[in-house]
Structure formats: structure tokens, C-alpha cells
């Protein structure tokens, strides 16, 4: 990383366009000549150099289009721009901007080609560029997901800042009659050789009149002022003083409050209802049917929820087997040729490989997203426009959904993206938004805030897909010789894409992600096959998606085989790992915890696990103690390689949080169905982890990966197998089913 690169090789000037007295400059990648959305309505004397920077006489506004659901990208995106713009974070305003294809996510296609993400060879990289071009031309997706915000933003946002800086310098040069070589930039101003400072805002009108400067060179990380060093997140004070407005806090004059009660048998119809009691309640404004259920509009959220609870409904059947056992039975019967999703990897000959066998079956259940901010949206349908206040990860699709329901042209649907109080994937979904749009249509002219009760949120989650794994590990002479892994799962991509109106064009890669691309390149015999089921409960991407269940299955089978071989769990993983960046990650986690020479004594144990996901190798060691009342988690060590660290504080926070998220759900959480309904209705039945169970988490970030990678998801997958492997080391009990608390107690 860190080579000086000039932009001119890879980009060209799209041109400057005179609009409303201002001028906007565009510099884009050659294949993405999208118009700058900031040009529309740009006031006199203001300049927008590209979709991310707007400067007028009063202020500097940066657009940070990626959705922030807690991972900190609002801050990180702005930091990338200000690093090159030579201004401080507290001198700019930051906005989520307007949904537009100019903000298409250029990194989403990295995972769409049939090459593992550790393959940076010419063929793999060429395929990624090709896929990117196809998607850019056919369906430019603005979206936040797949841990892609950092790789998507890293070059283009620094470029956006550099172009703005150099153009402002050119404007200052012209205005002051001083050669550009004598100018420097600092603290939001261009400085003349005589020490005079021309603020960027004072230069906006002049900058709007000149050709943009695009021949810019990005700074080497060794020159960075802000990036790579601990920074204070721009939202941290507001989030610590109760002053940050989330979508659920939106307030507007004349607003009414709504909630919904939709068939808890997902996808089923409403046959009939009786709202007599609800309508008699003080403060209830209206009760009416929406798709699949009922909505209540009231003068506060509590009254709406009380009234919804008072409505009796007769519900139709679910679209999937009503009882949980049938879901497992269906998966169990899915390991057949006609259900084959992909033979994702086949090296050597697992059937002919020598050695004694370990045979095992694994289960990973449905798990809820359950972000703490319940799903909500405020919508106002006016005569000629629709305004939507909600936090969403797929902003343009969200606009399309609302446009379709309200019948208003999508150009007149204005989505004001909001800070999100957790998502874990749920804010990729649209049901709550469509329901809010139906309500707003009925209440045309009145803004209505629709909020799910927690119970509705659990009933209408699209949980993590259910997965079953079958594996055979072979070992001989103290070494692992073969791994044969089969994974059957409810297809998460088929389910998710069907709700946006697409069919999945090929195999569901999430059914083998985290297993097929486990880079144990020194293992001579390996086969990974996945099998697709589509008839079970509707499911959606849950933080790290396929890598969580598949990583648990693959790494646990590996651990079992290593133990059967009598080898050291860390040393044998390193021996099998043919990927240098990953070897270093494993060695680092070993050094951090003092893997060698540390006698833990009776009733204590350590487990190591490794999963490669979203381009990031992560190794996790968990240490546990068996107490009289159950297993105690003592301490955790995590090493990962993200290529380039943007903010070490936030990265550590994500490592700690993602690890605890993975551990908590592995210990304590599942969604099960009975009579077609999720049996878990609130946090008492699905609480993940509480503070008393949280161990200390030590973290080391490495930067050997050839490209920058995101870290919202990668810490999650290795947590579950590391804990399972630790429990085995401490107790001799091998647990092959999540959540672990079905088989063992935790303290």
C-alpha cells in the first residue's frame, strides 16, 4: 500500500458545467461518467467540485453517502476527504446527501466473481474490473453492505478532496496573481507566499469560474495528518449526550404516530379482523388494513401500539413449514445432486485421500437482527412530492419502493437518510418502509411516523438463514490430509433478492462463502459443496452472512480433525495455510496470547479459529474456564489484516463489538418457528450478550493485505468456532450445534 499514484492515468475530466451561476467540476473514473447530483439547484457563487464536495461563501459541505448504522463510516468518509483538502473535521458540515447513482458502490462487485478475495492475480482482478463495468452500466447500486464502504471510498474520496484542494489553489493563484507553485493549503485556506490566508469559502465564487485541476497526486500514508491515527468520531459527542437524532426521533409539525400488526406467519394474509376495542381507545385516529395486516394511526406511538395489541385478527397460513423440526428435516434431505448449489472447490481427491476419518454434522439456526432502534419511517405524501425520513442501506431501491406505492415519480420522492441505531442487515429490507408508505398514502397530507413495536420487529425479521453442515476430515501421521465439507442452507440471496424483484442469476455464493475461500492452500485434498433450499422461512443478510455459519462449520471440522491427528491447533492451521498474509495473522494471534508454553491447568482451555471473509483474514483465540455453574469466557485475542487502517480506535471498537456479537449469538440466540410464528418475541428470549458475560478483547491490526478492506463484518465469523474449540479444550465436550447454550451453561 501507499504507492504514490497520479490520477491522470486512470481518470479523465468529464467537464465543467455552468449551472445557476455556479460551476461544478466532475472527475470520475473513466467508466462512470455520472452527473454530479449537487448541480441541481446549486446557488449563485457556490461550487461543487464533484459529488462529494460543495463550497459556498458560508460553509463547506461534504457528502458522506454510505449509511451509518454504527460502524462509523460517516466520520471515516469525511476524514478521507479532509485529509487531502487540508481542513479539519470540525470545520465542515457533513451530509448523507441525496440518493443518486453517482454514489454507486464500486466495491460491491469484488465478491461477485468466482475468485477468492485473497487472489489478487491478473485474471481475478481483470474479472473484478469487468464485473464492475457491467454492474456500472446495467444497475449502478448505491448501497452500504458487505463491509465495502472503505474499499469503495478510499481512492475516490481522497481524490475528491485533492481535486477540490488543487482547484481552490488555482483559483487563488488567478485571484492573487501569484504562481501556483508558491501556494500552500492548510486549515481551510490557501496561503500566499506573503502569509495572507484566503479561506476556501472566500474562494468559492472564483473557483466556480475556472477549469478544475485534475492532475492531482494522492499523498502517501506517511504524510497523513488525520488518517491512520486515532480520531474522534464526529458523532461521538452527540451520541454521548442524547442529542443525535436517529430516524425514530424525527419530529415534524402536525405529525401523527402509527404502528402495524402484520401476519406473524410471514407472507400470510389477513383473513379478518375486529378493531372495535382499538377504535374506542382515546387518541386513536384511524385503523385500516394494509398489505398482510392492520395499521393503527394515533396521537402517540404508545397509544398506537396499545391499540394494535387490542385488535383481534384471523391470520392465513405461512408460506413455509409451520414447525421448526420440519425446517431441519428439509435441510437434512437437501444434500442431493439436484439441490447442488455449487461445487465451489475441489482439489486433490478427498475420497481417495489416506487417513483415519472424523465424521460430523453441524447446525446453525435462524438468528434475529434485532437492532436496538426498532424499524421506523416517517413519510409525508404531498400533492407533488413525497418526503421520507428513515435510515436505509439501499437508498435508491428504497426510493423506488416508495415511488411505486405512492404513484409519485421517483424524482419527486425525497429520501432523507438518517443515522441508524444498529442494523446488522435488517435495514437492507423494505417491508417496514412499504408499510409506512401505505399508511402515508392513506393519511395523505399528514406526516406519519410508523414505528414497529419490539414484538413486531421480532415477528417480522428476516433472520439469518438456517444452515446444516456435514463434513469428513482425514488425518494421518499427525497431520490433516483431507477435508470434505458439504453445506445445505436456506438460500439467503434468493430470498433477499426476491423482495427487490430480482431472481438470483447463478449459485448462491453465500451458501459456501467462508468455507470455499478458506486459504489452506497446503492441504492437498479439499472439497466444498453447497446445497440450496428455498422453501423455508424468508431470510436475509445477517452481519457477515454466509461466512458466519460456514466459518463455524469449516473451522470446527478442521479443529476436530487436528485434535484427532494429535497436532497443535494453531501450528497445524499455520502449516496448512498457504496464504502469507493469513499466516502472519495466525502467528500474531499466537504471539498475543502466548499460545506456546502457557499451562492453563485443569478446567481451562483455549480455542483458536480463523475465517477469511470480505477479503479480511481474522484469527481469534478464546480462553474459557469451566466453573461449577458453567463456562466462563475469560479473555479473547483477535488479529486481522485490513490492508490499511483508517482509524485505529474505531477499528478496535469494531473488533471488540464484532467479536462479542459473534460470541453472544453463538452462546445464546436462535429463532425457532411454531405454528408458523417466531417463538422469540423480545430480548428476554434472544439477548445475545450482556456485560457480565463479556470478556476482555485484545486486538492487533495488520496492514499486509494488498488492498484496503472493511471491518464491519469480518470479526464475527471466527468468534463462534473459537468459542466452541475452547469449550472442547476445557471440557472435552464438542458442541456441533448453535446456540451452545442448548448443550452447556454459561456464567
Amino acid at each position: 500500500m501507499g504507492k504514490l499514484r497520479t490520477l491522470t492515468r486512470r481518470t479523465f475530466l468529464v467537464g465543467s458545467t455552468a449551472v445557476a451561476g455556479g460551476v461544478a467540476f466532475g472527475i470520475y473514473r473513466a467508466k462512470a461518467p455520472f452527473e454530479n447530483p449537487n448541480l441541481a439547484g446549486l446557488p449563485e457563487g457556490a461550487a461543487s467540485f464533484n459529488p462529494w464536495v460543495i463550497i459556498d461563501a458560508e460553509k463547506i459541505t461534504l457528502i458522506a453517502p454510505h449509511a451509518d448504522k454504527g460502524q462509523g463510516v460517516f466520520s471515516a468518509q469525511a476524514a478521507m476527504i479532509v485529509e487531502e483538502l487540508d481542513i479539519e473535521l470540525d470545520q465542515v458540515e457533513i451530509s448523507f446527501g441525496t440518493p443518486d447513482k453517482a454514489y454507486m458502490n464500486g466495491a460491491l462487485t469484488d465478491a461477485m466473481v468466482p475468485f477468492p478475495q485473497y487472489d489478487y492475480g491478473k485474471v481475478a482482478e481483470g474479472a473484478r474490473r469487468f464485473a464492475g463495468g457491467v454492474v456500472r452500466a446495467a444497475l449502478p447500486i448505491m448501497g452500504t453492505g458487505g463491509s465495502s464502504a472503505m474499499p469503495d471510498s478510499y481512492d475516490k474520496l481522497r481524490e475528491a478532496g485533492a481535486v477540490a484542494r488543487e482547484t481552490l489553489k488555482a483559483a487563488a493563484s488567478q485571484q492573487a496573481g501569484v504562481p501556483i507553485e508558491g501556494l500552500r493549503t492548510e486549515n481551510g485556506a490557501v496561503w500566499l507566499p506573503d502569509g495572507t490566508a484566503l479561506t476556501y469559502t472566500s474562494l468559492s465564487a472564483a473557483a466556480a469560474q475556472i477549469e478544475p485541476v485534475t492532475n492531482v497526486t494522492l499523498r502517501d500514508p506517511s504524510q497523513w495528518r488525520i488518517l491512520g491515527k486515532p480520531m474522534e468520531r464526529v458523532d461521538i459527542v452527540a451520541k454521548s449526550t442524547g442529542t443525535l437524532p436517529y430516524g425514530v426521533d424525527h419530529k415534524t409539525d402536525g405529525m401523527l404516530f402509527a404502528t402495524v400488526k402484520v401476519n406473524p406467519r410471514q407472507g400470510g394474509v389477513l383473513i379478518s379482523h375486529d378493531a372495535t376495542a382499538a377504535l374506542a381507545m382515546e387518541g386513536v385516529v384511524d385503523v385500516f388494513e394494509i398489505t398482510g395486516g392492520i395499521s393503527v394511526v394515533a396521537n402517540n406511538t404508545w397509544t398506537a401500539i396499545q391499540a394494535a395489541n387490542a385488535i383481534t385478527c384471523e391470520w392465513g397460513e405461512a408460506t413455509y413449514p409451520p414447525e421448526q423440526d420440519a425446517h431441519w428435516t428439509a435441510l437434512s434431505a437437501s444434500f442431493t445432486d439436484d439441490r447442488l448449489n455449487a461445487e465451489a472447490r475441489n482439489v486433490g481427491d478427498v475420497d481417495a485421500a489416506p487417513g483415519a476419518e472424523v465424521i460430523a454434522e453441524y447446525r446453525s439456526p435462524y438468528v434475529a437482527h434485532a437492532p436496538l432502534e426498532p424499524l421506523n419511517a416517517t413519510i409525508l405524501v404531498s400533492d407533488d412530492r413525497v418526503d421520507v425520513w428513515t435510515g436505509h442501506q439501499l437508498q435508491m431501491f428504497a426510493v423506488d419502493m416508495v415511488a411505486k406505492i405512492t404513484g409519485v415519480d421517483r424524482d419527486n420522492v425525497h429520501l432523507h437518510n438518517q443515522f441508524i441505531g444498529g442494523s446488522f442487515g435488517h435495514r437492507l429490507e423494505f417491508d417496514y418502509l412499504k408499510q409506512a408508505a401505505e399508511i402515508a398514502m392513506k393519511m395523505r397530507g399528514t406526516p406519519v411516523k410508523m414505528t414497529y413495536s419490539r414484538e413486531e420487529d421480532f415477528a417480522h425479521d428476516f433472520p439469518r438463514h438456517i444452515t446444516m453442515g456435514r463434513g469428513i476430515g482425514k488425518h494421518e501421521n499427525g497431520k490433516v490430509t483431507a477435508l470434505d465439507v458439504q453445506i445445505a442452507g436456506q438460500s439467503v440471496m434468493t430470498s433477499q433478492m426476491s423482495r427487490i424483484g430480482f431472481s438470483l442469476p447463478g449459485p448462491d455464493t453465500q451458501l459456501h462463502e467462508g468455507a470455499w475461500d478458506y486459504p489452506n492452500l497446503n492441504l492437498p485434498n479439499i472439497r466444498v459443496r453447497s446445497y440450496k433450499e428455498t422453501g423455508l422461512a424468508p431470510v436475509s443478510s445477517w452481519r457477515s452472512v454466509g461466512a458466519a455459519p460456514n466459518g463455524f462449520i469449516y473451522d470446527t471440522l478442521l479443529d476436530e480433525t487436528i485434535h484427532a491427528a494429535g497436532a497443535d491447533p494453531l501450528m497445524e492451521r499455520i502449516r496448512l495455510m498457504g496464504h502469507d498474509v493469513s499466516v502472519k495473522v495466525l502467528e500474531t494471534v499466537g504471539e498475543m496470547c502466548g499460545w506456546n508454553g502457557h499451562d492453563l491447568g485443569a478446567g481451562r482451555g483455549r480455542g483458536v479459529a480463523y475465517v477469511f471473509s470480505f477479503g479480511v483474514p481474522v484469527a481469534t483465540v478464546v480462553e474459557v474456564t469451566q466453573t461449577e455453574r458453567g463456562i466462563r469466557l475469560d479473555e479473547v485475542w483477535v488479529a486481522a489484516d485490513v490492508g490499511q487502517v483508517i482509524d485505529p480506535v474505531n477499528l478496535e471498537n469494531l473488533a471488540q463489538g464484532g467479536t462479542l456479537f459473534g460470541l453472544g449469538h453463538a452462546m445464546n440466540c436462535e429463532i425457532t418457528y411454531s405454528d408458523g410464528m417466531a417463538q422469540q418475541s423480545n430480548y428476554h428470549a434472544h439477548e445475545s450478550m450482556r456485560l457480565y458475560q463479556a470478556p476482555k478483547v485484545n486486538f492487533t491490526a495488520l496492514e499486509n493485505n494488498p488492498k484496503i478492506k472493511g471491518f464491519g463484518e469480518p470479526p464475527v465469523p471466527p468468534a463462534a468456532p473459537a468459542l466452541g474449540n475452547a469449550i472442547f479444550a476445557a471440557t472435552g465436550q464438542r458442541i456441533r450445534e448453535l446456540p451452545f447454550n442448548k448443550h452447556i451453561d454459561f456464567v
Binding site: S240, L372, G422, F424, T451, G657, L660, A694
Partner: protein
């Protein structure tokens, strides 16, 4: 019913159903949005406020219990310009990720430290385990509480 009580030093009078929870009176009647709805059944702690100096789940306190009460919400504990020591510690430690639970975490921690200026690790675990954080910021919450203890002792 008519209920009169003090919120962050200001006397408030509201006309609401007698069983309406304080959480929703604060949010939808008074318009103080820093106190969050997470579960409605005292399982998450996101709605924690101080009632006569004690940390309570505002989703469980009803209008009929409020007459004459003194309520402090996150907005009354401190402000961005004049932070409470616990808020200072939370900011310096950079605890928040999504941040949605942190109003409740901070109100719970401030109440704990007001009653017990130097809690043990076990006491911190016991008092803070009613507040759920889905993002997993617990290691930083522990760290911030330790820092707040130092600040308040200083």
C-alpha cells in the same frame, strides 16, 4: 389525567392516559428524544432515566406515579457544551458505535457512581448488565466507567 412533575429542572404538566409510560410522555408529549425505546418490557435499559435520583426504566413508570416526581433525562445530565463526568469519560473512551443504547448506559452508570463512587468489577457487572448493547461496546463501557471514577475522584 393531569400529571405535574419536573423534568431536567423544568416543571411539566401533561394531560395523558393514567397508564401511559414516562418513556412515551418524554418522547411523544414533551419531545425529549434522547431517551430511547428499545423493548418496552424493561429488558434493554435504553429508556433509563433518573426518578428522584434513582435509575429507572421509563417504559415501566406510569403517568399516575409521576405527580411531583423529579425526572432527569440524558439531556439534563449534561450537554455537549457542559458534559457530566460520565459523558466526558464516554467521549474520551469513544464508547459508542450505533449509540442507540448509550443514553441508557450513561444514565445507569451515572446513577451507580452517584450511589457508589468506587464500585468493584463485580458491582459494575451487576449494575450494568440490565443495559443491552447490540453492538458489543461492553469492553469500552467498563473502561469508561473506570475513567469516570478517576474523574469524579479527582
Amino acid at each position: 389525567m393531569q400529571a405535574s412533575f419536573t423534568v431536567n429542572g423544568t416543571v411539566r404538566s401533561v394531560d395523558v392516559p393514567e397508564d401511559m409510560p414516562l418513556l412515551w410522555i418524554l418522547r411523544d408529549e414533551i419531545g425529549l428524544m434522547g431517551t430511547k425505546y428499545g423493548c418496552g418490557i424493561a429488558q434493554c435499559g435504553a429508556c433509563t432515566v433518573h426518578l428522584d435520583g434513582m435509575a429507572v426504566r421509563s417504559c415501566q413508570v406510569r403517568a399516575y406515579e409521576l405527580d411531583g416526581a423529579e425526572i432527569t433525562t440524558i439531556e439534563g445530565l449534561g450537554t455537549p457544551e457542559a458534559q457530566h463526568p460520565v459523558q466526558e469519560a464516554w467521549i474520551e473512551t469513544q464508547v459508542a458505535q450505533c449509540g442507540y443504547c448509550q443514553s441508557g448506559q450513561i444514565m445507569q452508570a451515572a446513577s451507580m457512581l452517584a450511589n457508589n463512587p468506587n464500585p468493584s468489577d463485580d458491582e459494575i457487572d451487576a449494575v450494568m448488565s440490565g443495559n443491552l448493547c447490540r453492538c458489543g461496546t461492553y469492553p469500552r463501557i467498563r473502561e469508561a466507567i473506570r475513567l469516570a471514577i478517576q474523574k469524579q475522584g479527582a
